[in-house]
C-alpha cells in the first residue's frame, strides 16, 4: 500500500484516508457504504481508491438513501461485519436520523449487551467555507443528547488519523466529524505515524497550548481560532491554555478541570448553535463539578442561534471569530 509516498507532511484528508486504508487492510470485515464513495472516491476524495483496492464487495456506492445506508450498515454489524458509513456532508445525516438515534445508538442497550454496533458514521462538517445552511452544519449536539453514540472531532492530521483508527476499532457506534475546511489546509500538514503507532485513544483531550490565566476549551476548526486568540491575549499579558477536546462523548472532564486548577477561568468555544450546544455542556460540567475553581463567570462563544447563512459577511457575523474569542477571554481574564 503506497498511499502517500512522502510521509514528511500529510494533510488532514490524506491522514483520514490512511486510517481507512490501514484498517480495511488489517480487518477484512470492514465494509464501507455511502454515496459516491466507490467509483468517484467520495465527494472530497477521502475514499479515493478504496473501491479499486478492496473491491465492490467491500465498498458500496449506495443510492441516495441515508436512512437505509445507516440501517443496512447496522444489519451488517449485527452479522459480523464492521461498517464505515460516509455522509456526503454531515448535514444530510438528518435524513438518516431515526436510524441512528433509535436503531443504532440503542442496540447494545436494548439487547442487554448481546450485540454492539461497531459503526463509524463520518462526513465533512463545519462552516466558515461559504457552504450555507446545508453544507456547514455542526450538529453534534443532537447526538450528544442521544445516549449510545460516541462523538469525535479531530483538528489535526495526526488526530484525524489516530482518532479515526480508534473509532473504526471501537465496538460502539461513533459519529465522526471531519472538518472539511481542514481537509487540504496546507498550514496544518504534519508527519503522521504508520500503523498502530498512529493510534489516538478516544476520550482524551489534548492541551494545544499551555497557559495559566484562562482555559479555552474547544474542538474542530475553532482550535485554530482559539490559538490565534491566545496569541492576542499574550500581547495583552495573559497566557491562555487551549484544550482541544477531540472526543466529545465520552468527555474528558479531567483534563478540563485540571486546567482550571491553574487558570480558574473558562471560555468554551464551538461553532454549533448556542442553545443546547456542546459548549454549554462543557460549561455546565465545570460549573457543577469545579465550581470553587471558577474565579470569573464561565463563557460560551458559539454560533448565534441561527442557521449558517451563505453570504460571507452574514456567515462571519454569526460564527465565533478570533476577535470574539479574544474579547471574551480578555473580559474573563480581567474579571
Amino acid at each position: 500500500m503506497a498511499l502517500i509516498e512522502n510521509t514528511e507532511k500529510v494533510n488532514y484528508l490524506n491522514a483520514l484516508r490512511e486510517a481507512i486504508f490501514e484498517e480495511f487492510e488489517l480487518n477484512e470485515n470492514f465494509i464501507a457504504i455511502g454515496e459516491d464513495i466507490g467509483l468517484l472516491g467520495g465527494a472530497f476524495g477521502v475514499t479515493d481508491g478504496l473501491q479499486a483496492r478492496f473491491g465492490t464487495d467491500r465498498v458500496y456506492d449506495a443510492p441516495i438513501s441515508e436512512a437505509t445506508i445507516v440501517g443496512t450498515a447496522c444489519g451488517l454489524c449485527l452479522n459480523g461485519k464492521r461498517a464505515m458509513v460516509e455522509m456526503q456532508f454531515i448535514d444530510f445525516i438528518s435524513c438518516g436520523f431515526d436510524q441512528i438515534v433509535n436503531m443504532v445508538a440503542t442496540y447494545h442497550y436494548r439487547t442487554a449487551g448481546e450485540v454492539s454496533i461497531p459503526m463509524v458514521i463520518r462526513g465533512p462538517a463545519g462552516a466558515y467555507g461559504g457552504g450555507a445552511l446545508y453544507h456547514s452544519q455542526m450538529n453534534e449536539a443532537w447526538f450528544a443528547n442521544s445516549p449510545g453514540l460516541k462523538i469525535v472531532c479531530p483538528s489535526t492530521p495526526a488526530d484525524a488519523k489516530g482518532l479515526l483508527k480508534s473509532a473504526l476499532r471501537d465496538p460502539n457506534p461513533v459519529i465522526f466529524y471531519e472538518i472539511k475546511e481542514l481537509y487540504r489546509k496546507r498550514q496544518i500538514e504534519e508527519p503522521v505515524e504508520r500503523g498502530d503507532a498512529s493510534l489516538v485513544p478516544l476520550g482524551k483531550a489534548k492541551v494545544r497550548r499551555e497557559g495559566s490565566d484562562v482555559t479555552i476549551v474547544t474542538y474542530g476548526q475553532n482550535v485554530y481560532h482559539c490559538l490565534d486568540a491566545a496569541n492576542n491575549l499574550k500581547a495583552e499579558g495573559f497566557e491562555a491554555e487551549v484544550i482541544d477536546l477531540r472526543t466529545l462523548v465520552p468527555l474528558d472532564k479531567q483534563t478540563v478541570i485540571e486546567s482550571m486548577t491553574k487558570t480558574n477561568r473558562l471560555v468554551v468555544v464551538n461553532e454549533a448553535p448556542r442553545t443546547c450546544g456542546f459548549a454549554g455542556e462543557v460549561l455546565a460540567n465545570v460549573a457543577e463539578e469545579a465550581f470553587e475553581l471558577l474565579d470569573a463567570p464561565p463563557v460560551r462563544i458559539s454560533r448565534m442561534d441561527t442557521p449558517v447563512p451563505w453570504a460571507k459577511p452574514l456567515e462571519m457575523h454569526v460564527l465565533p471569530s478570533v476577535e470574539s474569542i479574544t474579547e471574551a477571554a480578555l473580559r474573563t481574564c480581567r474579571y
Partner: protein
C-alpha cells in the same frame, strides 16, 4: 415448489388466490406437515388468547397487539424457512419469536428461534429474556436466533434485514430475510429506500405485508391508493405476490416461492397477505375500534378463521376426520369464549412451561438501567 418467474405470474396467482381453497396443494407438504401446521395455528391462537386474559387480569404491562385471525401469515411464512434465515417481526407478530424454526422441534434448545421461556420472559418483563426487560415485549428480538430487534419505528428494520443478508452473502451463505410489516407501515420512507436498495443489489429480502385492512384507526385506502398492495412491487421491477392470509397453505406456498426466488439470487419481493384485524389496534383500542369500524366489515373480516380453513383443507385431503376437527372448535370464537380446554393439550402445556418460567424469573435489578449503554473497549 413453483419454478415459474413470480414476476410474470402475479396476475395468474391472483386469480388463483381468488379461487382460494380450490388451489392445487403443494406436493412438498406431507400429512404430518399439515398436522404440524394446524398445531402451530392452535399454538399461536392460544398464545394470543392467554395473553389477552393475562392482560385483562392486570398481570402484564404494555400493550397487546393481538395476532388473532392473522396466525396463518406467521405460521405459513415461517414454516418454509431454514435455521440460517433471518426474520424481523413487528408489534403484531409476537408468536413469530417462538414459531421461527419450530420444525427443529418445539423444545429443541438448539433451534434457531426463541424458546417459549424466553418469549414469556420477555412478555412478563423478566430477566429470563434475551433483552432483560429493557424494551417493551413487542419490540425485541434475539440476534443469536437471527431475529432482528425492531424499534417501534415502523418499517425501520428492513434496512437491517438488507444488511444481515448482505453480510451472509459476502460470507458465501445463502440466507434469506423475511420482514413483516403492516400495510400501513409501507408508507414510511424507509420502506421504499430499503426495497429499492435490495432491488439494486438483488438482496434476498422478502417483505411480507400483513394486510389486515387497518392501521390503528386508519383504513387501508387512506394509506395507499392501490387495489392490491402487491402491485407496489411493480414499481421496483420485483415480484409482487398475493396470498390469502387466512389460508396457511397459500401463505406457505407464496412465501416459499418468494424465498426460493430470493435464495437463488434473483432478489427481493413483496408478498401481500390479505387478512383482517380481529380486535382493536391494541387491547387499549378494543372499545373504540368497535365504533370506528363498521360492524358488517368486522363480521365479514372475521368470518374466515385460518384454523377453520385449515381444518377444511385437511378433511378434504383425508388428513383429519370430521370428529377430530370438532374436538377443538376454536374457530370463529373470541378470546372471551375460549378456555384452556378448547385447545390441544400439547399447546397448553407448552405455553404453561413458558409462563411458569416467566413468573419465577426475577424482575431486573434497578442498577441494570444504567448498564450497557456502551460496550467497554477491550
Amino acid at each position: 415448489m413453483a419454478k415459474t418467474d413470480p414476476a410474470r405470474t402475479t396476475k395468474e396467482r391472483q386469480s388463483k388466490a381468488e379461487k382460494g381453497a380450490a388451489d392445487p396443494l403443494p406436493a412438498s407438504l406431507t400429512k404430518s406437515d399439515y398436522q404440524e401446521l394446524l398445531l402451530q395455528l392452535y399454538l399461536a391462537r392460544y398464545f394470543d388468547v392467554r395473553l389477552i386474559k393475562e392482560k385483562k387480569r392486570g398481570r402484564l404491562r404494555g400493550t397487546l397487539y393481538s395476532s388473532h385471525n392473522q396466525e396463518a401469515i406467521l405460521v405459513g411464512s415461517l414454516f418454509g424457512l431454514r435455521p440460517t434465515d433471518w426474520i424481523s417481526p413487528i408489534h403484531r407478530d409476537m408468536p413469530a419469536f417462538f414459531l421461527k424454526d419450530m420444525r427443529a422441534g418445539w423444545s429443541n434448545p438448539n433451534r434457531s428461534g426463541m424458546s417459549i421461556e424466553e418469549v414469556c420472559g420477555q412478555v412478563w418483563g423478566k430477566v429470563g429474556s434475551p433483552g432483560r426487560a429493557r424494551d417493551n415485549w413487542s419490540h425485541i428480538g434475539s440476534t443469536k436466533h437471527k431475529i432482528i430487534h425492531s424499534t417501534s419505528m415502523l418499517a425501520g428494520t428492513i434496512p437491517a434485514a438488507c444488511g444481515v443478508v448482505l453480510a451472509d452473502r459476502l460470507d458465501g451463505k445463502d440466507s434469506v430475510a423475511l420482514t413483516f410489516n403492516g400495510e400501513g407501515s409501507t408508507a414510511q420512507g424507509v420502506f421504499h429506500e430499503a426495497i429499492n436498495f435490495a432491488s439494486v443489489h438483488k438482496l434476498p429480502v422478502v417483505t411480507i405485508v400483513e394486510n389486515n385492512q387497518w392501521a390503528f384507526g386508519t383504513p387501508a385506502h387512506l394509506e395507499y391508493a392501490l387495489e392490491d398492495f402487491a402491485r407496489r412491487a411493480d414499481g421496483y421491477g420485483i415480484p409482487g405476490l398475493i396470498a390469502d392470509g387466512q389460508d396457511v397453505i397459500d401463505v406457505y406456498e407464496k412465501v416459499s416461492e418468494a424465498v426460493a426466488w430470493a435464495r437463488s439470487g434473483k432478489g427481493p419481493s413483496i408478498v401481500e397477505c390479505k387478512s383482517f384485524r380481529a380486535y382493536g389496534h391494541g387491547d387499549h383500542d378494543d372499545d373504540r375500534a368497535a365504533k370506528y369500524r363498521p360492524k358488517d366489515e368486522v363480521k365479514a373480516g372475521r368470518s374466515r378463521d385460518p384454523i377453520g380453513i385449515m381444518k377444511e383443507k385437511m378433511i378434504e385431503l383425508g388428513y383429519l376426520s370430521q370428529k377430530e376437527a370438532e374436538k377443538y372448535p376454536v374457530e370463529g370464537k373470541g378470546a372471551n369464549d375460549l378456555t384452556d380446554e378448547d385447545f390441544p393439550k400439547q399447546v397448553v402445556e407448552y405455553l404453561a412451561k413458558g409462563v411458569e418460567f416467566a413468573i419465577a424469573s426475577p424482575v431486573p435489578p434497578p442498577e441494570e438501567g444504567a448498564m450497557w449503554v456502551f460496550r467497554e473497549v477491550e
